[in-house]
Symmetry: C2
Subunit: 229 residues, 2 copies
């Protein structure tokens, strides 16, 4: 059985929780590679992220990379495998729709290249914003989006318009044959089944934070720390 077949088989039964943790591993692995480390144990990765070592090993198993006893996992190989697994080996091209508060922040964020994303265009409906330069991008009118997407092989749309405009803007993206939408509005978008929508809802995190503040027995930290020492 080839490595690829193995990888594909495991991909089927991949839990989402695991996928969510991969970027954190990737970040640390890249830092280790920059230091020249060749191997790292799952135990070390776990300690940094307050996880159980066994979770890390199980997560890394889906990449198909084998660790060596006493040594750990090969850092560089693991980086490449995770990047390939997530499709981050080549950055996906994305357009941003809604060059407002949040849109400007995302346009100005330098870290997306590390996460397999490159914003190549910004669009807005407000005539006062169109034509202006924003964080190194010229804001274009929404009417030019379909041509831009088709010509530029754009795969993703980032949606940062006000809630009432969200569904209509999503429809424009869908008609432009975008493959996925990163949705920062609070609207549940209706899209055809071939379009993937990932909703990013700040209210969710805020609800968890508020709730934990009210919980008397809540523990601090980003997650449950394993056991001390």
């Amino acid at each position: 059985m080839t490595n690829d077949t193995l990888s594909m088989e495991r991909m089927q039964r991949t839990g989402l929780s695991c996928v969510r943790r991969l970027p954190a591993y990737l970040q640390l692995l890249r830092a280790l590679r920059a230091e020249g480390r060749e191997f790292v144990s799952g135990t070390v990765l776990a300690r940094v992220h307050y996880l159980e070592p066994v979770i890390v090993r199980k997560d890394l198993a889906i990449t198909g990379v084998m660790g060596k006893p006493r040594l750990g996992f090969p850092v560089n190989e693991l980086i490449l495998a995770i990047e390939k697994f997530l499709g981050w080996d080549r950055a996906a091209r994305a357009v941003l729709v809604g060059a407002g508060n949040l849109g400007a922040a995302l346009l100005g964020y330098q870290g997306f290249e590390d996460f397999g994303l490159r914003i190549v265009g910004a669009f807005d409906a407000d005539p006062r914003k169109i034509g202006r330069e924003m964080k190194g991008h010229r804001v274009l009118p929404l009417q030019r989006l379909p041509g831009f997407v088709a010509r530029g092989k754009v795969e993703l749309g980032i949606l940062t318009v006000p809630a009432p405009a969200a569904q209509a803007a999503a429809a424009v993206l869908v008609r432009a044959r975008i493959r996925g939408i990163w949705n920062f509005t609070s609207v549940r978008l209706q899209v055809p089944p071939e379009v993937v929508v990932q909703k990013e809802d700040l209210a969710e995190g805020l609800a968890v934070l508020s709730h934990r503040l009210r919980q008397p027995g809540a523990q601090g930290g980003d997650s449950v720390p394993p056991r001390q020492v």
Copy 2:
């Protein structure tokens, strides 16, 4: 058994997945209240959010509000119960640390009052930003944070500084006796157990999106997959 006792008992065994869904219900319930609706069935709530009716009923059960057969749940009572459950009946006061790209977006966001949050101050370390007005807030030097927090009964800190500055900035917040930190950096903060940290990681969502784009059998629409504690 009083409603309060019931509510407190159920609060103990509340799952996080449920808490994450509450803001979505709340949003729709408020819209219904604005229309004058007095009752709404769990089935309707479920349809809007693409959930199973059973899930909605179980989620709403933790508020202690009882629904009536054939009628549904009392809208206004439910809103008040959810707000109280999350502690959103009075907005928590928060300071923002790091008035950069993302910080400016959050400062300019008008929707936080609906989520029980009020940003009352903005802080930065960059002398060029200090003193400037930003989205209606004067940016203050970090040294003034402790006094500001103590005097203003500030409970929350919003962390939007670059990653290398994150731990130090968190330490300032902790020393100022903040109760919770909303962490937008990619750093796992080390804080004492009485401080609650909620980490908001865009890379997680992006990883899920990328992965689903590569999954041939993935279906569209946004789902809210459960996350680890």
